[in-house]
């Protein structure tokens, strides 16, 4: 049973990963909170950030 549980939740997370890989909108939206968080702290996230999925919020989707 536990194997099933772990299998199901892994499957759900894999689906999320596939979704993210195929959808630029999803990717962008998923990463948006980390930039908003910095804004809330009074820090402007810079465009030259090397983090994954740089913010292109101002420019819309990739």
């Amino acid at each position: 049973m536990i194997a099933w549980l772990i299998g199901i939740m892994t499957l759900i997370l894999v689906l999320f990963i596939i979704w993210r890989a195929r959808s630029s909108v999803f990717r962008e939206r998923c990463e948006a909170p980390k930039f908003r968080f910095l804004e809330q702290l009074g820090i402007s996230p810079r465009q030259e950030d090397n983090s994954e999925n740089q913010p292109k919020l101002q420019g819309g989707t990739e």
Partner: protein
């Protein structure tokens, strides 16, 4: 002043209050820990009053760290972080102060005081008594009201991962807390252990870990001023944590009587958990790496945080490895696990909390902070923790190795002592570090608000331009949160309810018909004393299904045996031996003497004295001491009765080649074994006149004035002496048994009679002795002198068998004049010296006839005397 400004000031006051309370919790809990550690090295340290018993201090140490230190630090962080994450204020500052006083005055101080006063429960990470547990549950609910509303009002799609961790931590802790605190009181033994296991892990996995991880996700971008590497993978890590962590619980009871399917499940989940932590830590460390620069070295709070992240990886991988059954069978119950838990609670959780508090403090206006002292505290704590973990890990490996060898338990205690001394020194270093950390908040320059303090909570909404477009992500997150709750319930069902039901069916099917499982009122009282004083934290009450356990302690603990345990006291650490098979192993008076002062009967014991259970002497036990011993004699009683038919008869002859093997004993080794294990009762000289030996009933055997035959010595060593305090020493190796048996023979000084020429052993004297013997002794000792007289069966221990014992005049006189307290042998004060001499001659004739040793021949040590120094 605006409402926002007032709210901010009010929140700052709450942050300061919880920070100060956290310092108090940290320092006092660490002090409790240091005292506990010192008591390993000096068991009588600080005297022996009830309130400073090792077990009570141990309870306060861990509960103080969890609630007094980490709880306050996390709440302070919540007050700082939640308004910034949600852009909303907390619910109410008045509620905040109610929460503050409830948490600290009632839960922490009340809990500590009650534990020291003897009111507690023997459940790991749930030691505060049930009343306090109820207050903590109430406080957790208040925390949800205080902070959950802000989260609820904020759109899910916009919520940063740190917020998710905080929300998850609050929600799941509130759900999991009653599982570990209440259910073990309602479900017996093994059934309750399944739920205890859940909470043991949830306390760390669902309370501590989410808050510590939230701190890392908050502080790293705040200090580096760069976003984290991947928010998506941070969310994957978040959900894996909450889905997998609760499934780990039963890995604390591997090889136990719990259903093997549940044990395997927890093993798989534990490994999976390690994978999740690799994902989380990689994301966090990449977040620091991509930020570049040297801020990760310069900023001390960030240094605390990334150290916490690195140690999170180390402790999680360690935890996953420990859950693998093959390794678990080796390492479980040792100090390795204590090293692991310190790495988790100091290395991971406390470093995160210290990073959070020091980061927050910089944004509180008008307070002081000494960065220099903070930096020094970091190094003290890093070095102290590093040394402690290395020390305890090494100690664990040594203990595990010795437990696998067929050596006495006390050998592992002796081998651990240098490590325990070193641990106390490490602990001292840690406390200095903690004091420096706390002091750094009171000295140095006055702070001024930094950039993060300029934000204005209570804004109208969370980024409305995103809310419209991200409704579907919100839905997905919401569904995942619901799934998380569902999985939590499933973990509860899969690892708690289902094993409990399976155990119930198993118990019903396997309980022997006449098993005596119910405890008497006295035994119940003893159980309470055992529980409240933390005995289960050194002595497990479960023999695991491992060869090492079965060899050392006997048959593994089965579920049906545990039906009388409310709550279970299986334990997760062995400092002393397991007690699950204690019933009948030791006499009542041995247990009492051992409780009064363990070193009276086990010279190298590090168990603390429980002299406060006595009225100044081991012979004057209080009712509580008697109750406790009565309880000890229930441990394994049901199993013992069930196996009665298989027990060897006490009078079964010793191995036939005992005499031959005797001659091969090494006297040097024999003396060492004797001094280490036997001298507590029998005394260094073998006369049994030690304080402990005299307090036993019957008193310890005098090995000098009575010579036991080799086969009797062998029999006593192998099987103990029923009815006396002499236990079986079958844990000794064959070589050690031979050596100590040979050495015992050399102690005997049974010179030929007479002390006075006029009483030479003549036929006349022997005939006179026979008359005395038949008149006074034969009813118990038997006409043949073999201890099988008509009245013999009424006594335990059985009357002496003179075919196996050579008696000296001095020994006979002592016993005849004074009797043997605690046995059936009375004093015979009216016998004259001549009669004593005569009966001694007669008694010796039994031994002479049996062994062929002439009465008139001088009696010497049989062998190996050339090896004596």
């Amino acid at each position: 002043m605006t409402n926002t400004g007032e709210a901010s000031m009010s929140t700052n006051r709450l942050i300061r209050a919880h920070t100060y309370a956290a310092f108090g919790g940290l320092l006092l809990s660490a002090l409790f820990g240091l005292l506990v550690s010192i008591k390993f090295d000096a068991p009588e340290f600080l005297g022996s009053h009830a309130w400073e018993t090792w077990g009570r201090l141990r309870y306060d140490h861990t509960q103080g760290i969890l609630y007094g230190w980490l709880g306050n630090a996390f709440i302070a962080f919540l007050y700082y972080a939640v308004p910034r994450l949600t852009q909303r204020n907390i619910t109410s500052s008045r509620l905040g102060w109610l929460l503050f006083w409830t948490w600290n005055l009632v839960a922490v101080l009340g809990g500590w005081s009650l534990v020291l006063a003897g009111s507690s429960q023997p459940l790991e990470w749930a030691e505060f008594p049930l009343g306090i547990a109820a207050v903590i549950e109430l406080a957790l609910l208040l925390l949800i009201i205080q902070f959950g509303v802000a989260f609820w009002k904020c759109g899910k799609a916009e919520l940063y991962v740190a917020g998710w961790y905080l929300l998850g931590g609050l929600t799941f802790t509130t759900l999991a807390y009653p599982v570990g605190n209440l259910l073990p009181h309602l479900l017996p033994g093994a059934m309750g252990a399944a739920f205890s296991g859940l909470w043991i892990h949830d306390a760390v996995g669902i309370f501590v870990t989410p808050f510590a991880t939230a701190i890392a996700y908050f502080v790293i971008p705040a200090v580096t001023r760069k976003p984290i590497y991947s928010h998506f993978y941070s969310m994957i890590g978040f959900w894996l944590l909450f889905l997998v962590y609760p499934l780990n619980g039963i890995h604390h009871y591997i090889y136990s009587a719990l259903p093997m399917s549940a044990q395997h499940a927890s093993e798989v989940a534990s490994i999976y958990q390690g994978v999740d932590v690799i994902l989380v830590v990689t994301n966090l460390l990449l977040s620091i790496a991509i930020a570049g620069g040297s801020v990760w070295l310069r900023d001390i709070p960030l240094r605390f945080v990334w150290t916490s992240v690195v140690l999170y990886l180390a402790v999680s991988i360690q935890g996953s490895v420990q859950a693998v059954m093959a390794f678990n069978s080796f390492i479980h119950f040792t100090d390795w696990v204590i090293g692991h838990s310190h790495l988790a609670m100091i290395g991971f959780a406390s470093f995160a909390a210290m990073g959070a508090l020091s980061h927050i403090w910089q944004s509180i206006p008008g307070v002081r902070m000494s960065r220099r002292l903070l930096a020094w505290s970091y190094w003290f704590i890093v070095v102290g923790l590093g040394l402690m973990v290395i020390d305890l890990t090494a100690a664990g490996l040594v203990q595990a190795s010795l437990w696998r060898e067929h050596t006495l338990w006390i050998e592992s205690v002796r081998a651990s002592q240098p490590f325990w001394i070193f641990r106390s020194l490490d602990g001292g270093l840690l406390i200095i570090g903690f004091m420096m950390f706390a002091a750094s908040f009171f000295i140095g320059e006055l702070t001024s608000p930094v950039v993060t303090a300029r934000i204005s909570p209570n804004v109208a909404s969370c980024a409305p331009q995103l809310r419209r477009t991200d409704r579907w992500i919100s839905t997905a997150y919401g569904a995942t949160f619901g799934a998380g709750l569902g999985f939590f319930v499933l973990s509860f069902v899969a690892l708690g309810v289902m094993p409990a039901l399976a155990l119930h069916r198993l118990m019903t099917r396997t309980t022997p018909l006449q098993a005596r499982l119910e405890l008497t009122a006295q035994e119940r009282r003893g159980q309470q004393i055992y529980a409240r004083n933390g005995c289960a934290y050194c002595h497990t009450e479960q023999v695991r299904f491992t060869p090492a356990d079965e060899w050392r302690f006997g048959s593994p603990t089965e579920a049906w045996e545990t039906q009388g345990e409310y709550p279970q006291m299986w334990g997760t650490r062995r400092i002393g031996p397991d007690l699950a098979r204690e019933a009948g192993r030791r006499s009542h008076d041995w247990q009492l003497v051992h409780l009064y002062n363990p070193r009276f009967v086990v010279p190298d014991s590090m168990m603390p004295s429980y002299a406060w259970l006595f009225d100044g002497s081991p012979e004057k036990p209080s009712d509580a001491a008697r109750d406790l011993v009565a309880y000890l004699n229930t441990l394994g009683r049901a199993a013992m009765h069930a196996q009665n038919s298989e027990r060897a008869r006490e009078d079964e002859p010793a191995p036939g080649d005992a005499l031959v093997r005797f001659a091969q004993g090494n006297l040097m080794e024999g003396r060492a074994v004797f001094e280490a294990n036997c001298s507590g009762c029998h005394g260094g000289d073998g006369r049994g006149k030690t304080e402990g030996g005299r307090a036993l009933r019957p008193v310890a055997f005098n090995l000098v004035d009575f010579r036991l035959s080799p086969d009797r010595v062998w029999q006593a060593l192998q099987r103990g002496v029923p009815g006396s305090s002499m236990p079986s020493w079958s844990e000794l190796s064959e070589d050690q048994l031979q050596a100590v048996a040979t050495y015992v023979q050399t102690l005997s000084q049974t010179p030929p009679l007479p002390p006075d020429e006029s009483y030479a052993p003549t036929p006349v004297l022997q005939a006179a002795g026979e008359r005395v013997y038949l008149t006074h002794c034969a009813r118990c000792h038997g006409i043949a002198g073999d201890g099988n007289g008509p009245d013999a069966k009424a006594y335990a221990p059985r009357p002496a068998n003179f075919l196996q014992m050579e008696v000296s005049y001095r020994g006979a006189e002592d016993v005849i004049r004074h009797g043997v307290p605690g046995s059936g042998m009375p004093a015979w004060p009216l016998l004259t010296p001549q009669e004593i001499q005569a009966v001694t001659v007669y008694l010796r004739s039994f031994y002479a006839a049996k062994t062929g040793v002439g009465q008139s021949e001088p009696s010497h040590a049989s062998t190996g005397s050339e090896e004596m120094p």
